[in-house]
């Protein structure tokens, strides 16, 4: 399970809407509990460095990646994963997502079926299994106490 609080969610939605119709992308930071539950506390927005069609692809530059790792070390957070948006597409990882996916990372996808229809925006999160296939990771708003 990955917990994304509404304030963090709003940051993700803002980035996805600002970047629409291009794909946005960035990093998720937080901590991992003993039971494997991940809690996202902050995000880092980075540029989509894909040369070419950014409406269907994203790429994060290696320098931005190194910055993210350093950012995690500086705040004593864990780099939990990557988020990106799927403008006008469901929040399901594509083959492009899978091929380039890293183990361990949560891949949070923000689907924006229609920019004008805020209610249609939704999130799903995915993790690679040992067969390099994506499995869905449940998203929750708050940590249950």
């Amino acid at each position: 399970m990955i917990i994304i609080e509404p304030t963090v969610k709003q940051l993700l939605i803002d980035d996805a809407l600002d970047t629409f119709p291009d794909e946005c992308c960035g990093f998720l930071f937080g901590r991992e509990e003993h039971d494997g539950t991940r809690i996202v506390v902050d995000i880092l927005v980075v540029d989509n460095s894909k040369a070419g069609d950014k409406t269907r692809r994203f790429e994060i530059s290696p320098l931005d990646y190194m910055t993210a790792e350093q950012h995690a070390l500086n705040h004593d957070w864990t780099l939990l994963g990557i988020y990106h948006s799927h403008p006008k597409h469901p929040a399901i990882p594509s083959e492009h997502d899978r091929v380039a996916a890293q183990p361990y990372f949560s891949y949070v996808i923000i689907s924006i079926p229609d920019k004008m229809d805020r209610a249609s925006i939704h999130f799903r999160s995915w993790l690679l299994n040992n067969n390099r296939q994506f499995e869905e990771e449940k998203i929750s708003d708050y940590k249950l106490v």
Binding site: E23, H89, A100, F105
Partner: protein, 477 residues
């Protein structure tokens, strides 16, 4: 000692250590040392050839080693090395995005480990041409449509006949007399509304084959005759398309995958590696002549659909380079190894076939030139009736159709015409009709070939045309 910063996703292979110390040397020696100390890192950093993977970036400070001296880049004691995974993705092609309904529909595929959404997406993006929508085509089309193959083409020139229904499970009695491709499309549309169906109500021949086949990624050959089989094989080879082949006869079925290029780029054999030339005409009878057990195409066609799905998705090992034979009587399966031949006339060392040829002639079938049938229109038939012309009217439909509506013809169902040839007049013109004209044409050919009739006329458009043109008050069905 130099420092290596391990990215978060790989830390589970380094005992959760983010920074490792390594000796000075070069990037090559650093990677050697890392993979020696942490063997699980190896497959993530290096490919099968021992080279650094293309999606792994190695940086010294802020510089990519690709801009320095690659693996020979020196590593000093104060060097900080970062391993940086490439981060990328995206929605991909618009065509492969699934709706909520499709995800629900294909759930039992998506949850199979090793198949998953990835294979389902490949199915959706795939274009498969199924040649022949009969015994083999029925299960192939049903399963490929059900599985979610995004675009399916269907080639068949035939109309549905009652004698097809013993094995061609795509069709029902309501489709008798209708073109098979249209009946198939209607059935498949009700099965899966999320796919695209293209129909070709035509004889596949040397003139149209390349044009039709070139639009597709995979060809499924379920034809019942040698000329078309060689035509499909040669066209697939010329276009570089994999051809999933199946055939059936009486109690035996065969399956293979021809002209398939595997992941290593190696091309497998094709039908001409197995049979460079066809058997003499008449030696191997067709199903229409020799018969076939109705369930057999269900078994073999399902295996053919399986191989099509494997070719598309890359899941498992296809039958490329192997030839599978199933004997239904003794329940024996055998699989032979087949190889490419240097003397293959289409893609051996010295190919002699560089374009499609006349396959009827190649298979020795030109000798029996098909003369065009004599036809009569509904209006002409009505004229004959009005003028009181002497002729015999024969209805080759089935009794239940005859009961729905008839125009006073003598009922001799298609399957029984040969046994009833003595009931057909030789001293006057004979008009033969069915529902739409397909079965009556078959009856006429059969009677002409076997008994030498020359006085037979086919009613163009069948009884339906007669009702439209002459007696609209009659029941249409």
């Amino acid at each position: 000692m130099a420092t290596v910063i391990i990215p978060t996703p790989l830390r589970k292979f380094t005992n959760n250590t983010a920074r490792l110390q390594v000796g000075a040397g070069t990037i090559h020696s650093t990677v050697e040392e890392l993979t020696r100390n942490f063997p699980d890192l190896r497959k993530h950093l290096l490919d099968e050839g021992g080279k650094i993977r293309s999606y792994v970036n190695i940086f010294i400070g802020n510089d990519d080693i690709r801009d320095l001296q690659h693996e020979k880049t020196p590593v000093k004691d104060d060097t900080v090395i970062s391993i940086v995974p490439a981060i990328a993705g995206g929605t991909g092609g618009a065509a492969s995005a699934f709706s909520k309904e499709e995800l629900a529909r294909y759930n039992r595929h998506i949850i199979i480990p090793g198949f998953g959404l990835e294979a389902q997406q490949k199915l959706k993006s795939a274009k498969v041409l199924v040649i022949g929508s009969g015994g083999l085509g029925s299960p192939v089309l049903l399963y490929l449509a059900a599985a979610g193959v995004g675009t399916i083409g269907i080639v068949d020139f035939d109309v549905v006949d009652d004698s097809n229904l013993q094995r061609q499970v795509l069709f029902g009695v309501n489709e008798i007399g209708k073109p098979k491709v249209e009946a198939a499309r209607r059935r498949l549309e009700t099965l899966n509304p999320y796919i695209r169906l293209n129909i070709y109500n035509t004889h596949l021949n040397s003139q149209n084959a390349l044009d039709i086949l070139k639009e597709y990624d995979v060809i499924a050959d379920g034809t019942d005759n040698f000329p078309t089989r060689y035509l499909v094989n040669d066209a697939s080879v010329l276009l570089g398309k994999p051809n999933v082949y199946a055939s059936i006869f009486q109690f035996e079925g065969q399956v293979s995958v021809f002209n398939y290029r595997n992941a290593n780029g190696e091309l497998g054999p094709n039908y001409r590696d197995l049979y460079p030339t066809p058997p003499p005409p008449g030696l191997v009878p067709s199903c229409a002549e020799g018969g076939v057990l109705g369930v057999l195409p269900g078994i073999i066609g399902s295996l053919q659909a399986l191989e099509v799905i494997k070719v598309i998705t890359g899941v498992g090992e296809t039958l490329s380079g192997r030839f599978y034979i199933f004997d239904a009587l003794d329940f024996q399966s055998r699989t032979f190894t087949i190889r490419r031949r240097e003397d293959n006339p289409i893609n051996g060392k010295n190919p002699t076939i560089t374009a499609l040829i006349d396959y009827e002639q190649f298979c020795g079938m030109r000798a029996v030139e098909e003369a065009p049938l004599k036809e009569i229109t509904a209006k002409q038939l009505y004229d004959w009736q009005v003028r009181g012309e002497k002729f015999q009217l024969i209805d080759v439909r089935e009794p239940h159709e005859f009961d729905i509506v008839n125009i006073g013809g003598e009922l001799i169902p298609l399957g029984t015409v040969s046994n009833n040839s003595d009931r057909i007049a030789r001293d006057q013109n004979v008009v033969i009709h069915c529902k739409m004209g397909g079965r009556s044409a078959k009856a006429i050919r059969e009677l002409q070939e076997k008994f030498g009739f020359t006085n037979l006329y086919n009613l163009k458009g069948g009884i339906l045309s007669y009702i439209d043109e002459v007696q609209p008050e009659l029941t249409k069905y």
